[in-house]
Amino acid sequence: MTAPRTLVEKIWAAHAVAELGDATDLLHIDRIFLHERSGGRMLQGLAEAGRKVFDPAMVLGTLDHIIDTNPGRTDATKFPGGAEFIAAFRDGARAAGIRVFDLDDPAQGIAHVIAPELGSAQPGLTMVCGDSHTCTLGGMGALAWGIGVTQGEHALATQCLPAGRPKQMRVRFDGALADGVTAKDMVLHLIRTHGARGGDGCALEYAGSAVEAMSCAGRMTLCNMAVEFGAWTGIVAPDETTIAYLAGRPYAPQRADWDAAVAWWRTLRSDGDARFDREIVINAAGLSPSVTWGTSSEQTVGVDEPVPAPGGFADAVARASAEKALAYTGAEPGRPLAGLSIDAAFIGSCANSRIEDLRDAARVLAGRKVAAGVTAICVPGSTPVKRQAEAEGLDRIFKAAGFQWREAGCSLCFYNGGDSFGSARRVISSTNRNFENRQGPGVRTHLASPLTVAASAVAGAIADPRALLRR
């Protein structure tokens, strides 16, 4: 009899090519995603070393990071030097025989949004990308993690990567979420409670009835922020929701393969008596909308709770960090964030730009207007999301409310020297990073769910979406 194993241990065992010693294995990598920001560099590095892509059919590419997202966009980027990245990426990918979802491709979008849409992100696959939010794909049951350029070259050249066996962590969310509370609020609450390093480099499996009840989109939001929790990656066990999501997708297993794949996927769950190094249990029913007050995702409070005072932190380094964050964001200790006026509202990024997120925001925005003086921007995560939203009429709701309706990409999730919020300084954002200057020089980012972003856009100040949902 085999010893009880976790979901991650099962996927790991199916990919172990060789033992390297020191609790490290050489793992086969099933899928590599490239994007124009680092993909060109990887392919260049490979060519300079005289190496070849091991299996180009296992590699896909997209344009997402630095492309323009304004309507009528071309290859021109607002990011100085962007054209050079795009050209290097296209040339490298063409020479290596790698399929790229280019600007004019109906499947183009943020790598972590299109990988599931294509059916390329599947349960039990190992997947890497030169981007830290590759862990998003754990929401589909894939073992997926972000890597740098050197490891990207490694994966391309060998279709393998060495990886240390991670500690196993499970976070259970039990109970039903209240209306107005979403996956984003759950994961921000988790990080707030256990710290931005609480994930401790572990492989983190999200479980519990609240996760089981959730769409693939919500699961991907949870897994997206596993990296902000300091986990190595996050994952949710595949189930009938996952299988139904993948059925009929162009890159999903086809015909006879489909039945064999589904049969394997159904075995991909942690055994009942599997051992986890760490387990956290959270009552999902007790959660409220979360908003960040500082410059780390751990600096979060419930929208109606007061911002903490730095004096309450345990040690000198933690206190100094809180003081630095407060000085940057200008949030006031002892006062709630609700009511703090904002200059801009942003809905987009691999954290929250899927169709479900846009439907959420539209629920709040329907029949309402963005407050005067607030710049409001919606950037769908992929061209398919944009088309779907247009088919449902969501674009009309966004536009009528006063939101810009953009083309798909990473856009204002990060500032690269080009596109910015202009003079806007306080932004409520459905993205995943509130670091200093992340969204622009001096921009103060408050992370929240799409519902909270929409409600705040309407109020012109950080606002609790539950008030607008209750009619």
Partner: protein, 215 residues
């Protein structure tokens, strides 16, 4: 990659948690596809006055006391955030060969090992002691990090042991090319793929062809 054995020199204190890779190398500073020229861009948003290249006198690396720092000491979760390897290139091209912190972002840590930068881990109490000594004007901010003995010597001469995996230690000490080591395992990789293809044929099915059939 330059082998790492022992580094002794000036050490700079950064007494905060969660120093992210956007802070280490802002995205707007990575507007070239090259791997060089990042030393001057390290911590650009903190190091220079806003919108200029004039040094911000309040930033630790502009303090003459820490000029030429080869070591950096920080709190928890150093290098969290984006996977940008330029964060490590900026540190090493500036001259920083080792970081000492309570913990690291996992991707940053992996990138360090592959670029000859040592990410040493100490418990938070030891980090706080070292940070206090570095800030103490009465002691020169000189430290040593030795990878052969896995020890750190603080400015006052206190010695702390640190742990690092044997494979990572070897890679740093040899300055090894990990890709080459894996390429030497090609027969094992091919054998794995032959076995795996029989078990999981869909993983190896031609994606492009599958795609074409459906349109």
């Amino acid at each position: 990659m330059e082998p790492f054995r022992r580094i002794a020199g000036t050490s700079a204190p950064m007494p905060i948690d969660n120093v992210d890779t956007d802070a280490i190398i802002p995205s707007k500073e990575t507007q070239s596809t090259a791997r060089t020229g990042y030393g001057e861009k390290l911590f650009a948003n903190w190091r220079y006055l806003p919108g200029t290249r004039a040094p911000n006198p309040d930033f630790v690396l502009n303090n003459p006391r820490y000029a030429g720092a080869q070591l950096l000491v920080a709190g928890r979760n150093f290098g969290c955030g984006s996977s940008r390897e330029a964060a490590v290139w900026a540190l090493s091209q500036f001259g920083v060969r080792a970081v000492i912190a309570e913990s690291y972002g996992a991707i940053f840590r992996n990138n360090c090992i592959r670029n000859g930068v040592l990410p040493a881990v100490l418990p938070i109490a030891a980090v706080e002691q070292v940070l206090a000594e570095l800030a103490d004007g009465a002691i020169a901010p000189q430290m040593a990090v030795d990878l052969e003995t896995c020890t750190i010597v603080s400015p006052s001469g206190a010695v702390f042991g640190f742990q690092i995996g044997s494979l990572e230690r070897e890679m740093l000490m040899q300055g090894a090319d990990e890709i080459e080591l894996t390429l030497m395992k090609r027969p094992l990789i091919e054998a794995f793929r032959a076995r795996d293809q029989a078990l999981r044929p869909w993983v190896y099915a031609s994606q492009e062809a599958t795609h074409a059939q459906d349109h």
